[in-house]
Symmetry: C2
Subunit: 374 residues, 2 copies
């Protein structure tokens, strides 16, 4: 029996077959030669690349061609503010910051408050509150304020909407319908919205009045937006944006689907206390261990389905040797699930202690990040 999975910008469910997604979406796998090419510029490879957490791309070779010719790109990523952020959100942005640091490039960061208001059963005011909250988490990750520009769709609409209608004019409902699986009962804001998400991919070119290459790091669920707009952007006179696609951090309950803050018990939030982290991991983190300690010692655990191990692999243990050691110990039965969980809890709480300190400091820094129109 085939397992069914679904990946759209607004729903991710089931056990995701990333190889199948590569084919379906028509993106390219990041192969060893491309990794080598990146390493040539960055000096080392981020573990998210080594471990193929960023596993696919569109036009990354072209982007590096341009870069090697001296044509610097900018980065564009974003956040849909509809609730508290969790570790799954941070992964893409931490990797984005690494790209910013290694390539020394500008980053445009879009907060799609319009999207979340239009797609979620939440009030405008609530979405605005989460926009402010989520900005703190992004700032806390340490982006360079001189090179990082926040765009908030509603606040920057005078900048974004005039460009969005240029995208919209070339995009029919038929296309949007097919790409996103919409029907006629969708609201007209949802139907228009992808035009707004397209804009930051060429806005710096509009502002600078010259064509600048763009690289978009994103979770692969967001690819559909750009599959639609990448065909349109060159017709407006700008480069097709390059994309680098990431996998999803799974929820606590198991390695299917993706972490979501709709149920805060299933996600580690950036604002969780050490106690909450401990409780969540101990109570909910799906274990690849055996039913009894005896059996575990004898047969060992299954790290592939163990959420705690996967969080170490995907987020908290950048050192490959240490990770291999933990995996071997777990598989051989030397390391019990409870011990594995303790390792993870300690790592998460160290990370969050630091993050929450920076998040507090970020309250005074928001203004430095919000893009100022002249």
């Amino acid at each position: 029996m085939k397992e069914k999975f679904k990946v759209t910008p607004w729903e991710v469910s089931g056990k995701i077959d990333y190889d199948k997604l590569i084919k379906e979406f028509g993106v390219s796998k990041i192969d060893e030669s491309l990794l080598k090419r990146i390493e040539k510029h960055t000096g080392e490879l981020h573990f998210a690349l080594r471990r193929k957490l960023f596993f696919a791309h569109r036009d990354l070779n072209w982007l590096l061609d341009e870069y090697e010719k001296g044509n610097k790109f900018f980065l564009y990523t974003g956040c849909g503010p509809s609730g508290p952020l969790h570790l799954g959100h941070l992964g893409t942005w931490i990797f984005t910051k690494w790209l910013q640091d290694k390539f020394g490039v500008e980053l445009w960061f879009q907060f799609t408050d319009d999207e979340k208001f239009l797609f979620k059963d939440k009030s405008y005011e609530e979405i605005q509150k989460w926009t402010s909250e989520n900005m703190l988490d992004v700032i806390a990750l340490g982006f360079d304020p001189k090179k990082t520009h926040f765009l908030i769709d509603t606040k920057h609409a005078s900048l974004l909407y005039p460009e969005a209608i240029k995208v919209a004019k070339r995009l029919t409902f038929s296309t949007v319908k097919a790409a996103f699986g919409f029907n006629d009962s969708r609201n007209v804001g949802e139907i228009f919205y992808t035009s707004m998400q397209a804009v930051p991919a060429f806005l710096p070119s509009v502002i600078e009045k010259k064509k600048i290459p763009c690289l978009i790091p994103l979770g692969i669920d967001q690819d559909t937006h750009f599959r639609v707009s990448r065909d349109i952007i060159p017709k407006l006179g700008y480069y097709k944006p390059a994309i680098i696609h990431g996998v999803f951090l799974p929820p606590l309950t198991g390695i299917e689907s993706k972490m979501s803050s709709s149920n805060s018990d299933m996600a580690i939030l950036t604002t969780d206390s050490p106690k909450e982290v401990e409780k969540k991991i101990k109570k909910y983190a799906f274990s690849g261990g055996r039913d009894t300690i005896e059996e575990h010692r004898k047969k060992g655990g299954n790290s592939d389905i163990d959420v705690s191990f996967q969080y170490l692999r995907m987020f908290f243990e950048p050192n490959d040797e240490k990770l291999a050691q933990i995996e071997n110990d777990y598989k051989s039965g030397n390391l019990l699930t409870s011990e594995l969980k303790e390792i993870l809890i300690k790592k998460i709480n160290e990370f969050l202690a630091e993050h929450q300190k920076k998040r507090e400091k970020a309250k005074k820094e928001i203004d430095k990040f919000i893009f100022k129109t002249k």
Copy 2:
């Protein structure tokens, strides 16, 4: 055989049966008692009301109830900038100015540059050029700059878009499809657009943080936008806007359809020279006269289908007695078509000489009219 006609915001064709439109659109006829009620406040009736050029309404009695309770309304009308303006455009705005003067109220004037860009095969730059040009004509009509606020959809998007998405969230494609006759090949900007046109009907209430009644004077072809949004606006916490509907000034070629600047020979443009006006009226203005002078003297002309007479009735001869005299003379055969045309040409050129002088002066006044966000 039934005559077919079509009235949508983007197409008006055929011989319009206004009584049928009243039924189809579900609006109310302006009756004598309502005219008396208006006259009580204005002291006199504008000829556009006396002659039923503004002939229908929605909730005008409610608006006057509120006004009589001391709850002042504001006016909202607009312009779709896609080409030079013609007399047909000015009619609604001259009447709007009369309302502003008589009731002493604020006017919000929307320039829907996004709409025209999305619906017309014209470049963004061309639409921007026409926006600037059209603003001059509006200013030339003498609106009070202290009480008149221009909103340009793209420039004021930071003000309009956040409110438009609140409308959009409650508006499905099914509804828009049915109301405007769209199909799936429409672009997503066209589908979203009516949300932007809804906003000025409640924006002053948003800004002032209190519910303010709104009266929209418009050509009846624009009614569809508000038929859709009037149901939504109260759900956002504001009053349903009242509307007063005008007939269309016919093109030079005959009393069907409406004047349009797509073919500049069929319209009197605000920038036409006296020579152009003379040529257009003489060459194109459809005549209700007879084939020969002899026949005309004997049987008289038909003022109902005579475009020159209709322009006098609808625009250039506010004096009822003088108009009746001209009509009688024409019907009796005393007045020839060529003589009627001379009367009109003189009137138009007097009006345009003054208008063009004010239009030139308006170039220095644009800034006073464009709404400043705090």
